[in-house]
């Protein structure tokens, strides 16, 4: 079992292997993810029942929840990659962080935006400074810092190292920010707002929600692969294997 994992790890670290396999996977994942998103959107927007409390406006959940959840998952996966990069110096981890950061930033932004649009009619305000929103905003800032950091180092390796450090700093900092804002809030404004109806979600609402979450995760997988391939092809454009590959096509 360990041997299999070890083999897989070594293969994953190899650019040519990754490039070959990802090329085969991409069309399949692309079609699947986009059709899932289309199906769940249509289902969620037109066929799932209206919420008793919130009315039709709750339907933005089919965009908001997947975006917020994937934006966090991307960050956690990036911090795992950062640790891998710093400990084992696996170059692919650097490629992963660089390629996924813009996608993560985009979904964090969608999450913030859809949350604000959802919040307006339900809570009567676009924005509250509670722990969840503040930490999502901070997450967005960390994504921006990671993207900005890419260009500050001349050497690719240095940039990857620095970015890995920031990613890990962020993963430590995020819960601290969340806790301190939470603490600050409970002392200042006792009534914090909770989303109503979330716990009592019915099955007819839940299934398209799960589908949309699955769709978005697959979509991130799809775009992540595309973006990693693009990154690999810029880093390896002068390498033998890449030249051979591109001359064959």
């Amino acid at each position: 079992m360990f041997q299999v994992l070890k083999n897989f790890y070594h293969k994953l670290g190899s650019y040519p292997w990754f490039y070959k396999i990802s090329g085969k996977v991409i069309p399949f994942v692309g079609v699947l993810s986009i059709s899932l998103i289309v199906i769940s959107s249509i289902w969620g927007l037109f066929f799932s029942p209206t919420d008793a409390v919130q009315g039709d406006v709750y339907r933005i959940i089919y965009f908001h929840v997947p975006a917020v959840s994937v934006s966090q998952v991307i960050y956690y996966s990036m911090s795992v990659a950062a640790a891998v990069f710093l400990i084992w110096r696996m170059k692919m981890a650097g490629v992963y962080i660089k390629s996924l950061a813009p996608i993560g930033a985009a979904f964090t932004f969608i999450g913030l935006l859809s949350g604000a649009i959802w919040g307006q009619p339900t809570w009567g305000t676009w924005w509250v400074w509670d722990a969840r929103l503040t930490s999502t905003l901070v997450l967005f800032l960390f994504y921006l810092a990671i993207i900005g950091m890419q260009s500050t180092f001349a050497s690719r390796k240095s940039a990857d190292t620095a970015v890995s450090i920031i990613t890990l700093v962020g993963v430590v900092n995020l819960p601290i920010v969340k806790k301190s804002v939470d603490w600050w809030n409970t002392l200042h404004q006792p009534a914090s707002i909770t989303i109503s109806g979330e716990s009592s979600i019915s099955n007819e609402m839940l299934i398209p929600l799960l589908l949309s979450i699955l769709g978005v995760y697959l979509f991130v997988f799809f775009t992540g692969l595309l973006s990693m391939r693009a990154e690999i092809s810029t880093r390896e454009q002068n390498k033998e294997w890449f030249k051979k590959l591109s001359s064959n096509n």
Binding site: T134, L141, L144, V169, N173, L174
Partner: protein, 219 residues
């Protein structure tokens, strides 16, 4: 020891020759402090409530302007290369640099913040926690500034501020809260202890990270 004193002397001299290094944070602070009453309200009751946060935020923003000073000149004129080639442990030297940067970019503002009693109608009992929290909290902010500055050397990118802001949030919250506590008659001692703990805990970590980030530019 004498050697470290000499480095301190050198840094001090360099900062004191560049008058902008301490005048611009001061001017920035004075401009902001006079803008708040005009932009928000000149009602003493409103300003009194906002004063702790306004002062803290202003200091935070002014360090955002000055954090690049810590290493950028050394990077451009080649001093860092000479430093690295000297084979000495540069952590202490970096610490001295951060300390001198704090003396010039934060200390004058902390002294000036006394005037917030008149300008922002901060009640007198808020003055002690204000000064104490600033004296203990701003070195931590300068440490973050050093890390951000070391990471974004040579480029004027969004990275530094985007990194500094989230890192500084806990310090900002604890600092303003200490003042608010004392104004409401609550003991603010625990907040100060927290700030001290953060400083002591983060000092070696951030220092180590900043030195590492500096070295990454020579890799």
């Amino acid at each position: 020891m004498i050697y470290l004193l000499k480095i301190f002397q050198k840094e001090f001299l360099i900062y004191s020759r560049k008058s902008s290094s301490f005048i611009s944070p001061v001017v920035f602070f004075l401009i902001s402090i006079s803008l708040y009453p005009i932009g928000i309200s000149n009602d003493p009751d409103i300003l009194k409530d906002l004063a702790p946060g306004l002062i803290w935020i202003t200091i935070l923003l002014s360090t955002l302007i000055s954090f690049q000073n810590i290493f950028s000149e050394d990077y451009e004129d080649g001093s860092i290369e000479v430093l690295l080639a000297s084979g000495q442990n540069i952590s202490l030297i970096v610490l001295i640099k951060i300390f001198v940067n704090w003396i010039f970019s934060c200390l004058p503002i902390i002294i000036l913040s006394v005037f917030s009693i008149f300008l922002l109608y901060l009640p007198q009992e808020g003055l002690r926690p204000l000064i104490i929290s600033l004296l203990i909290g701003t070195p931590t902010i300068c440490l973050f500034g050093a890390l951000a500055g070391a990471l974004s050397l040579g480029k004027n990118s969004i990275t530094g501020p985007a990194l500094m802001l989230p890192l500084s949030l806990p310090v900002l919250i604890l600092g303003t809260q200490a003042i608010n506590y004392s104004l409401n008659g609550i003991n603010f001692f625990s907040n100060i202890l927290f700030l001290i703990a953060i400083l002591i805990f983060l000092l070696p970590i951030i220092l180590f990270a900043s030195v590492g980030a500096l070295k990454l530019h020579f890799n």
